[in-house]
Protein backbone atom coordinates (compact mmCIF):
# COMPACT_ATOMS: atom_id res chain seq x y z
CA UNK A 1 0.00 0.00 0.00
CA UNK A 2 1.47 3.32 -1.03
CA UNK A 3 0.84 6.09 1.45
CA UNK A 4 -0.22 9.59 0.51
CA UNK A 5 3.14 10.81 1.81
CA UNK A 6 4.98 8.57 -0.65
CA UNK A 7 2.91 9.84 -3.54
CA UNK A 8 3.60 13.45 -2.57
CA UNK A 9 7.31 12.69 -2.31
CA UNK A 10 7.23 11.13 -5.77
CA UNK A 11 5.33 14.06 -7.29
CA UNK A 12 7.81 16.50 -5.82
CA UNK A 13 10.66 14.59 -7.41
CA UNK A 14 9.04 14.56 -10.85
CA UNK A 15 9.09 17.77 -12.85
CA UNK A 16 5.92 18.41 -14.81
CA UNK A 17 7.88 19.21 -17.98
CA UNK A 18 9.40 15.74 -17.89
CA UNK A 19 5.99 14.18 -17.40
CA UNK A 20 4.43 15.91 -20.38
CA UNK A 21 7.38 15.03 -22.63
CA UNK A 22 7.36 11.39 -21.71
CA UNK A 23 3.62 10.93 -21.40
CA UNK A 24 3.11 9.97 -25.04
CA UNK A 25 5.75 7.24 -24.81
CA UNK A 26 4.35 6.12 -21.52
CA UNK A 27 0.94 5.53 -23.07
CA UNK A 28 2.51 3.31 -25.75
CA UNK A 29 4.33 1.25 -23.16
CA UNK A 30 2.50 -2.08 -22.98
CA UNK A 31 5.11 -4.02 -21.02
CA UNK A 32 2.88 -4.05 -18.01
CA UNK A 33 3.88 -3.07 -14.54
CA UNK A 34 2.70 -0.48 -12.14
CA UNK A 35 1.62 2.80 -13.65
CA UNK A 36 0.96 5.74 -11.41
CA UNK A 37 -1.91 7.84 -12.72
CA UNK A 38 -0.71 11.29 -13.67
CA UNK A 39 -4.02 12.98 -13.19
CA UNK A 40 -2.88 14.19 -9.80
CA UNK A 41 -4.49 17.41 -8.78
CA UNK A 42 -2.30 20.43 -9.12
CA UNK A 43 -3.13 23.30 -6.83
CA UNK A 44 -5.36 25.71 -8.67
CA UNK A 45 -4.95 29.18 -7.23
CA UNK A 46 -8.32 30.46 -8.45
CA UNK A 47 -10.11 27.41 -7.10
CA UNK A 48 -8.38 27.85 -3.75
CA UNK A 49 -9.46 31.48 -3.79
CA UNK A 50 -13.05 30.46 -4.60
CA UNK A 51 -13.10 27.91 -1.81
CA UNK A 52 -12.12 30.54 0.71
CA UNK A 53 -14.63 33.20 -0.34
CA UNK A 54 -16.92 34.07 2.56
CA UNK A 55 -20.45 32.66 2.32
CA UNK A 56 -23.41 35.00 2.63
CA UNK A 57 -26.02 33.04 4.61
CA UNK A 58 -28.45 35.95 4.80
CA UNK A 59 -29.79 35.58 1.25
CA UNK A 60 -32.47 33.11 0.20
CA UNK A 61 -31.52 29.70 -1.19
CA UNK A 62 -31.55 28.49 -4.78
CA UNK A 63 -33.85 25.50 -4.98
CA UNK A 64 -34.28 22.70 -7.50
CA UNK A 65 -37.38 24.47 -8.86
CA UNK A 66 -35.24 27.45 -9.88
CA UNK A 67 -33.04 25.37 -12.19
CA UNK A 68 -33.64 23.03 -15.16
CA UNK A 69 -34.82 19.47 -14.29
CA UNK A 70 -31.54 18.01 -15.51
CA UNK A 71 -29.59 19.62 -12.66
CA UNK A 72 -28.95 17.19 -9.81
CA UNK A 73 -29.36 18.16 -6.17
CA UNK A 74 -25.56 18.46 -5.93
CA UNK A 75 -25.49 20.81 -8.90
CA UNK A 76 -28.24 22.89 -7.25
CA UNK A 77 -26.01 23.08 -4.17
CA UNK A 78 -23.08 24.23 -6.34
CA UNK A 79 -25.21 27.00 -7.85
CA UNK A 80 -26.55 27.98 -4.42
CA UNK A 81 -23.05 28.20 -2.96
CA UNK A 82 -21.79 30.14 -5.96
CA UNK A 83 -24.51 32.76 -5.45
CA UNK A 84 -23.79 33.00 -1.73
CA UNK A 85 -20.06 33.37 -2.34
CA UNK A 86 -20.31 35.93 -5.13
CA UNK A 87 -23.37 37.93 -3.99
CA UNK A 88 -21.29 40.67 -2.36
CA UNK A 89 -18.42 40.72 -4.86
CA UNK A 90 -17.87 43.78 -7.00
CA UNK A 91 -15.87 41.77 -9.51
CA UNK A 92 -16.64 38.71 -11.59
CA UNK A 93 -16.12 35.04 -10.93
CA UNK A 94 -16.76 32.19 -13.37
CA UNK A 95 -17.01 28.48 -12.69
CA UNK A 96 -17.70 25.51 -14.93
CA UNK A 97 -19.34 22.52 -13.28
CA UNK A 98 -20.84 19.13 -14.00
CA UNK A 99 -24.63 19.36 -13.82
CA UNK A 100 -24.90 15.73 -12.65
CA UNK A 101 -22.16 15.49 -10.04
CA UNK A 102 -22.06 19.18 -9.16
CA UNK A 103 -18.24 19.06 -9.31
CA UNK A 104 -16.44 22.23 -10.34
CA UNK A 105 -14.13 21.63 -13.30
CA UNK A 106 -12.80 25.14 -13.83
CA UNK A 107 -12.72 28.40 -11.93
CA UNK A 108 -11.57 31.92 -12.82
CA UNK A 109 -11.73 35.48 -11.49
CA UNK A 110 -11.59 38.79 -13.29
CA UNK A 111 -8.20 40.18 -12.45
CA UNK A 112 -7.53 43.72 -13.51
CA UNK A 113 -10.70 44.20 -15.51
CA UNK A 114 -13.91 44.32 -13.54
CA UNK A 115 -16.17 43.86 -16.54
CA UNK A 116 -14.77 40.64 -17.97
CA UNK A 117 -13.56 37.26 -16.76
CA UNK A 118 -11.43 34.88 -18.79
CA UNK A 119 -10.82 31.17 -18.32
CA UNK A 120 -9.19 28.26 -20.09
CA UNK A 121 -11.10 25.01 -20.60
CA UNK A 122 -9.65 21.70 -21.71
CA UNK A 123 -12.52 19.98 -23.52
CA UNK A 124 -10.67 16.64 -23.60
CA UNK A 125 -10.75 16.54 -19.81
CA UNK A 126 -14.51 17.04 -19.61
CA UNK A 127 -15.49 14.83 -22.52
CA UNK A 128 -18.73 12.98 -21.86
CA UNK A 129 -19.72 15.29 -19.02
CA UNK A 130 -22.71 17.59 -19.07
CA UNK A 131 -21.29 21.00 -18.34
CA UNK A 132 -22.76 24.32 -17.31
CA UNK A 133 -21.12 27.61 -16.46
CA UNK A 134 -22.19 30.26 -13.99
CA UNK A 135 -20.82 33.77 -13.58
CA UNK A 136 -21.97 36.70 -11.51
CA UNK A 137 -23.03 40.15 -12.61
CA UNK A 138 -22.00 42.49 -9.80
CA UNK A 139 -24.61 44.96 -8.50
CA UNK A 140 -23.23 47.87 -10.51
CA UNK A 141 -24.07 46.05 -13.75
CA UNK A 142 -27.41 45.15 -15.36
CA UNK A 143 -28.54 41.59 -14.73
CA UNK A 144 -29.48 40.37 -18.26
CA UNK A 145 -26.83 39.00 -20.62
CA UNK A 146 -25.16 41.75 -22.62
CA UNK A 147 -24.23 41.56 -26.28
CA UNK A 148 -20.78 40.33 -25.32
CA UNK A 149 -22.34 37.17 -23.93
CA UNK A 150 -23.67 34.29 -26.06
CA UNK A 151 -20.19 32.82 -26.60
CA UNK A 152 -21.54 29.53 -25.26
CA UNK A 153 -23.74 29.16 -28.35
CA UNK A 154 -20.58 28.30 -30.28
CA UNK A 155 -19.12 25.91 -27.69
CA UNK A 156 -20.09 22.26 -27.95
CA UNK A 157 -19.06 21.29 -24.41
CA UNK A 158 -21.24 23.84 -22.64
CA UNK A 159 -24.97 23.14 -22.35
CA UNK A 160 -26.11 25.85 -19.95
CA UNK A 161 -24.88 29.30 -19.07
CA UNK A 162 -26.21 30.82 -15.87
CA UNK A 163 -25.88 34.45 -14.84
CA UNK A 164 -26.26 35.14 -11.15
CA UNK A 165 -27.37 38.70 -10.38
CA UNK A 166 -28.68 40.49 -7.33
CA UNK A 167 -32.24 39.17 -7.40
CA UNK A 168 -32.33 37.23 -10.64
CA UNK A 169 -30.92 34.20 -12.39
CA UNK A 170 -30.69 34.16 -16.19
CA UNK A 171 -30.37 30.68 -17.66
CA UNK A 172 -29.31 30.29 -21.28
CA UNK A 173 -29.73 26.76 -22.61
CA UNK A 174 -28.35 25.53 -25.90
CA UNK A 175 -27.35 21.90 -26.13
CA UNK A 176 -26.55 21.75 -29.80
CA UNK A 177 -23.75 23.71 -31.37
CA UNK A 178 -25.63 24.67 -34.49
CA UNK A 179 -24.65 28.31 -34.58
CA UNK A 180 -21.88 29.67 -36.67
CA UNK A 181 -20.02 32.82 -35.80
CA UNK A 182 -22.15 34.94 -38.12
CA UNK A 183 -25.38 34.09 -36.28
CA UNK A 184 -23.76 34.69 -32.89
CA UNK A 185 -22.49 38.08 -34.06
CA UNK A 186 -25.98 38.89 -35.29
CA UNK A 187 -27.49 38.01 -31.90
CA UNK A 188 -24.89 40.18 -30.19
CA UNK A 189 -25.58 43.08 -32.53
CA UNK A 190 -29.33 42.86 -31.95
CA UNK A 191 -28.87 42.72 -28.18
CA UNK A 192 -26.59 45.77 -28.25
CA UNK A 193 -28.90 47.75 -30.50
CA UNK A 194 -31.89 46.86 -28.39
CA UNK A 195 -30.17 47.90 -25.16
CA UNK A 196 -29.10 51.22 -26.68
CA UNK A 197 -32.60 51.87 -28.02
CA UNK A 198 -34.21 51.30 -24.60
CA UNK A 199 -31.62 53.60 -23.10
CA UNK A 200 -32.34 56.19 -25.75
CA UNK A 201 -36.08 56.00 -25.04
CA UNK A 202 -35.57 56.25 -21.30
CA UNK A 203 -37.08 59.36 -19.85
CA UNK A 204 -34.09 61.07 -18.32
CA UNK A 205 -36.16 64.16 -17.69
CA UNK A 206 -39.01 62.68 -15.72
CA UNK A 207 -37.39 59.59 -14.20
CA UNK A 208 -34.51 59.56 -11.78
CA UNK A 209 -31.48 57.34 -12.31
CA UNK A 210 -32.91 54.37 -10.42
CA UNK A 211 -36.14 54.46 -12.41
CA UNK A 212 -34.22 54.65 -15.70
CA UNK A 213 -32.15 51.62 -14.70
CA UNK A 214 -35.20 49.64 -13.57
CA UNK A 215 -37.13 50.42 -16.75
CA UNK A 216 -34.25 49.67 -19.10
CA UNK A 217 -33.45 46.43 -17.26
CA UNK A 218 -37.09 45.31 -17.42
CA UNK A 219 -37.66 46.26 -21.08
CA UNK A 220 -34.33 44.94 -22.37
CA UNK A 221 -34.89 41.69 -20.45
CA UNK A 222 -38.33 41.25 -22.01
CA UNK A 223 -36.85 41.89 -25.44
CA UNK A 224 -34.16 39.20 -24.95
CA UNK A 225 -36.70 36.65 -23.72
CA UNK A 226 -39.01 37.27 -26.68
CA UNK A 227 -36.28 37.49 -29.30
CA UNK A 228 -34.21 34.44 -28.34
CA UNK A 229 -37.09 32.14 -27.42
CA UNK A 230 -39.17 32.89 -30.49
CA UNK A 231 -36.46 33.25 -33.16
CA UNK A 232 -34.34 30.19 -32.38
CA UNK A 233 -35.47 26.62 -31.78
CA UNK A 234 -32.26 25.57 -30.06
CA UNK A 235 -31.97 28.43 -27.62
CA UNK A 236 -33.95 28.77 -24.44
CA UNK A 237 -33.55 31.78 -22.20
CA UNK A 238 -35.19 31.76 -18.77
CA UNK A 239 -35.37 34.46 -16.15
CA UNK A 240 -35.80 33.38 -12.55
CA UNK A 241 -36.86 36.03 -10.04
CA UNK A 242 -35.39 35.43 -6.61
CA UNK A 243 -36.72 36.74 -3.34
CA UNK A 244 -34.06 37.55 -0.81
Amino acid sequence: MISKKDVIKFIKKVHLEDVTKSYKDLLKDNRGGFLIPFEFKLTDRDYERYRHLPINWSIGPITKEDLPDEFSQRAVKTVDMFRRKTFDLDYECLIYFNIHSGNIVSCAFSDNRHDEVNAVIFPDCIEGMHIASIHNHPHQYYSPPSGKNFEMLGLDFEEYEIISAKNKLWILESKEMVFDDEIIQDIRKKANESFQSYLHDANFVLDNGYQVIDNVERDYGIFLLNYLNSEFENIKLTKVDLND
Binding site: V19, T20, S133, S143, L199, H200
Partner: protein
Protein backbone atom coordinates in the same frame (compact mmCIF):
# COMPACT_ATOMS: atom_id res chain seq x y z
CA UNK B 1 8.87 23.64 -23.04
CA UNK B 2 6.97 21.36 -25.32
CA UNK B 3 3.92 22.11 -27.47
CA UNK B 4 2.32 18.88 -26.35
CA UNK B 5 -0.24 19.25 -23.60
CA UNK B 6 -1.60 16.00 -22.21
CA UNK B 7 -4.86 17.79 -21.35
CA UNK B 8 -5.64 18.44 -25.02
CA UNK B 9 -6.23 21.64 -26.91
CA UNK B 10 -7.26 24.50 -24.62
CA UNK B 11 -10.27 26.68 -25.35
CA UNK B 12 -10.23 30.27 -24.10
CA UNK B 13 -13.58 31.46 -22.83
CA UNK B 14 -14.68 34.90 -21.74
CA UNK B 15 -17.75 36.22 -19.92
CA UNK B 16 -18.61 39.84 -19.34
CA UNK B 17 -20.25 41.48 -16.36
CA UNK B 18 -23.17 42.94 -18.29
CA UNK B 19 -23.89 46.53 -19.22
CA UNK B 20 -22.70 49.06 -16.69
CA UNK B 21 -25.51 50.86 -14.83
CA UNK B 22 -23.23 53.77 -13.99
CA UNK B 23 -22.20 54.32 -17.61
CA UNK B 24 -25.78 54.13 -18.81
CA UNK B 25 -26.92 57.03 -16.65
CA UNK B 26 -23.73 59.07 -16.75
CA UNK B 27 -24.13 62.86 -17.16
CA UNK B 28 -22.85 62.60 -20.75
CA UNK B 29 -25.42 59.93 -21.54
CA UNK B 30 -28.23 61.94 -20.01
CA UNK B 31 -27.14 65.07 -21.89
CA UNK B 32 -27.06 63.20 -25.20
CA UNK B 33 -30.48 61.69 -24.56
CA UNK B 34 -31.93 65.09 -23.74
CA UNK B 35 -30.42 66.61 -26.88
CA UNK B 36 -31.85 63.81 -29.00
CA UNK B 37 -35.27 64.36 -27.51
CA UNK B 38 -35.03 68.11 -28.09
CA UNK B 39 -34.19 67.52 -31.74
CA UNK B 40 -36.94 65.00 -32.37
CA UNK B 41 -40.55 65.71 -33.22
CA UNK B 42 -41.85 62.97 -30.98
CA UNK B 43 -43.66 64.28 -27.95
CA UNK B 44 -42.22 63.10 -24.69
CA UNK B 45 -44.20 62.85 -21.49
CA UNK B 46 -42.70 66.16 -20.38
CA UNK B 47 -43.96 67.84 -23.57
CA UNK B 48 -47.47 66.55 -22.94
CA UNK B 49 -47.37 67.81 -19.36
CA UNK B 50 -46.02 71.16 -20.53
CA UNK B 51 -48.95 71.59 -22.90
CA UNK B 52 -51.41 70.52 -20.25
CA UNK B 53 -50.10 72.99 -17.70
CA UNK B 54 -49.96 75.86 -20.17
CA UNK B 55 -53.62 75.20 -21.08
CA UNK B 56 -54.47 75.24 -17.38
CA UNK B 57 -52.51 78.44 -16.93
CA UNK B 58 -50.27 76.85 -14.35
CA UNK B 59 -46.65 77.82 -14.37
CA UNK B 60 -44.44 75.05 -13.08
CA UNK B 61 -40.74 75.37 -12.71
CA UNK B 62 -39.15 72.65 -14.92
CA UNK B 63 -37.07 71.29 -12.08
CA UNK B 64 -40.21 70.59 -10.11
CA UNK B 65 -41.58 68.44 -12.91
CA UNK B 66 -39.28 65.61 -12.05
CA UNK B 67 -42.10 63.93 -10.18
CA UNK B 68 -45.87 63.83 -9.99
CA UNK B 69 -46.02 66.27 -7.09
CA UNK B 70 -46.17 68.90 -9.81
CA UNK B 71 -49.90 68.16 -9.99
CA UNK B 72 -50.65 68.65 -6.34
CA UNK B 73 -48.52 71.73 -5.61
Amino acid sequence: MTDFDYRGIPVHVSRDAGYSKIDSISPEKRKKAKEKKNNSNVKTRIDVLDELFSKMGVIVHPERMTNWYAFTD
